[in-house]
Amino acid sequence: MRTRPRLFVSYASEMSLLPTWTQKIAALVFLGVLVAIPFGIIPGLGFLADNDWLKILSRVAIYAIGALGLHILSGLAGQVSLGHAFFVGIGAYTAAVLGGEVGKGVWGLGLPIWVWLPAAGIVAAVIGALIAPTAVRVRGIYLAIVTLGLVFIGEWIFRSVAFITGGSQAGRKLPRFEFRIWKEEMPLVDFTTDGTWFGVEMTSEAKTYLLMLAFIIVAVIIAKNIQRTRVGRAFMAIRDRDIAAEVMGVAEARNKLVAFALSSAFAGVTGALLGAFIGRLVPETFSLLMSIQFVAILLIGGLGTVTGTLLGSAFVIILPRLVQDFTGLLASTVETGTGFFASVAGIFVSTGIDDPGIISTLPGTSPGLNVAQFNVLLYGLLLIGFLIFEPLGLYGIWIRIRNYWKSWPFTY
């Protein structure tokens, strides 16, 4: 009986984070791989130890935290929100004021990370809770438009309060990843310079990556725990049938408010981390495009699952880099190569005014899209493709693969 993987003898064991031994081992191995990546010791994944890739992976982790927030609001509580970027912005600017230095006409208190990071989450959560009563009154498509309005109003606010944000197009510096007890000169732990940790030579990118990894692990555990406790079940009950949930004693308005606050807290932390990671932010960063990116992460990954959210984050953030590499490869094949591949690539790449193609290597002179535009186009097309052909997203693909091997070699 012990060997039956999906046989649960108690409710507690079914609800545990990793119910089966296979999952426990897989999670441990995956975690080990993630920790080992910056040291370049894993065969086949050595290229990820490159500083460029470490930066991309850190960004994946940062976005995944915010996406987990949206997962709570949209995936669990079923509330459509296009306003996530607003809360990300709130978090970023809370961190900027508390942790940043006084600059050209901008405020800054220069407090350490253990103040500004939690504060970013808390302030965003409070503002989320303040907005929630308005959002709870409307539902469905009306909510989508209200939250969309939130992004536009937020962008205007961010542009207007120049003493906090540095103003339109100019932006301001944000705090760095340094751990101080208080405002002392030398940081206790510094994540922004190269150096040795416990005798191992580490680049700043590797340090930042490990820090982000720690944050995303904590965020995943929190999100998973929310999902499998009372409040998470209340969210799912509201998502599935709000009136039925209310009849059963789940307070709809209060739980929606909690969902908004929790989701905003995650978004706020993401904003603070993103700001510190990039170093300088302009108010225009927190536009509708960023909200769309978070929604895209959720839908490409698979709505309503933590695993899907993580997969979606990795996919959406890594994709532009892959497209860039791919188009670079195509262009160089066309220019230097001969034979079959070069002629196939030639169909797609446009190298001159008379050469038709989808991707242009000489933006402005030859027809076709430049690489950035092609990236955006592909992003949109992929989104459409996933929504039409794989509504469950990457998680759905994974489930299909898993089910195939479960029943292998039988094909029933």
Binding site: S74, V80, L82, T134, R137, V138, R139, G140, I141, Y142, A144, I145, V146, L148, G149, F152, I153, W156, R159, S160, V161, S168, R241, D242, I243, A244, V247, L288, I292, V295, A296, L299, L303, G364, G368, L369, Q373, V376, L377, Y379, G380, L381, L383, I384, L387, I388, P391
Partner: protein, 329 residues
Amino acid sequence: MISGLLVFAQAGGQEAVDKFANATSSGIALGAIYALLALGLVLIYKATQVLNFAHGALAALGAFFAAYLATVINFPGRYVTFLPTTMQWILSALVAVLITAVVGLVLERLAIRPMIGEPLFSVVMITIALDIVIRTITDDFIGSSPRPLGDPWGADVVNIGPAIVAKTEIATLLVTIICLVGIALFFRTRYGVAMRATAFDQEAAMAQGISAGRIFAMAWAIGAGLAAVAGIFSSMFPRASIGVSGGTAFFAFRALPAIVIGGLDSITGAVVGGFIVGLVETYAGVYLTGATWSFLGLGFSGVMPYLVMLVVLLIRPYGLFGTEEIRRV
């Protein structure tokens, strides 16, 4: 209400009257564009329960087609040289609207039809994804600098009473009225009745032999056509001094408050909401400027529609004319 305000403004002397009259006339013209956009959005929403976030992209695409047909290849103007240039331009614009309507048909068939019955979030997202795709392609079509539409009115103005009105604004209002009357008449035709029946109860309509798919396609074609009309007028003087650019697509996002104010499923609401948003935005732009209001910062008039929308939603969660959703367990 407006005449009352005019009396109020007269207390401030002739200058104040001129200012108010100018603001009102350009507000009405702006409202007409919003009303056109809102009309298309509501039509699509009523018939298919899909809110088309790609409306702005379609508007920009339509405006690009008009600019391309009128200024680059001169179609159909070069075949009808005996007509006056104004007529030639109007024909080009009409062809552009037709092409955009066909684009709307294709979009509905390829992307929206497979999504019937999917959750709301996915349907919203697919129109946003369509917006991304169409906007990217349109931006590439337009190129790095704005394209002039080549319209016959240019920056000409006429005086109507105390107000100085651009000829394009008069054209906007006229075309909006024509479109509104056209839609009202369309609803009385055989197909219009079928569309209303489908919007009312899809299954019952299908039981009566109405093809819901055909109605969906028709709604998207008309909606896209209306978007193109709005896009053409929003790329003209005085909205955009040069022509259709990447910014044209973002214009339509301000029509979303209009349809929420009016109620998502109400044609009357769309028109009323459009004019409210246009007037509010223009008044905010004219009166809330200068040193006294500098704390409001840049671009406050663009945020005003959303603030009005929030206030309306707090009072009436389904807009001024929208029908309340009946929730069942």
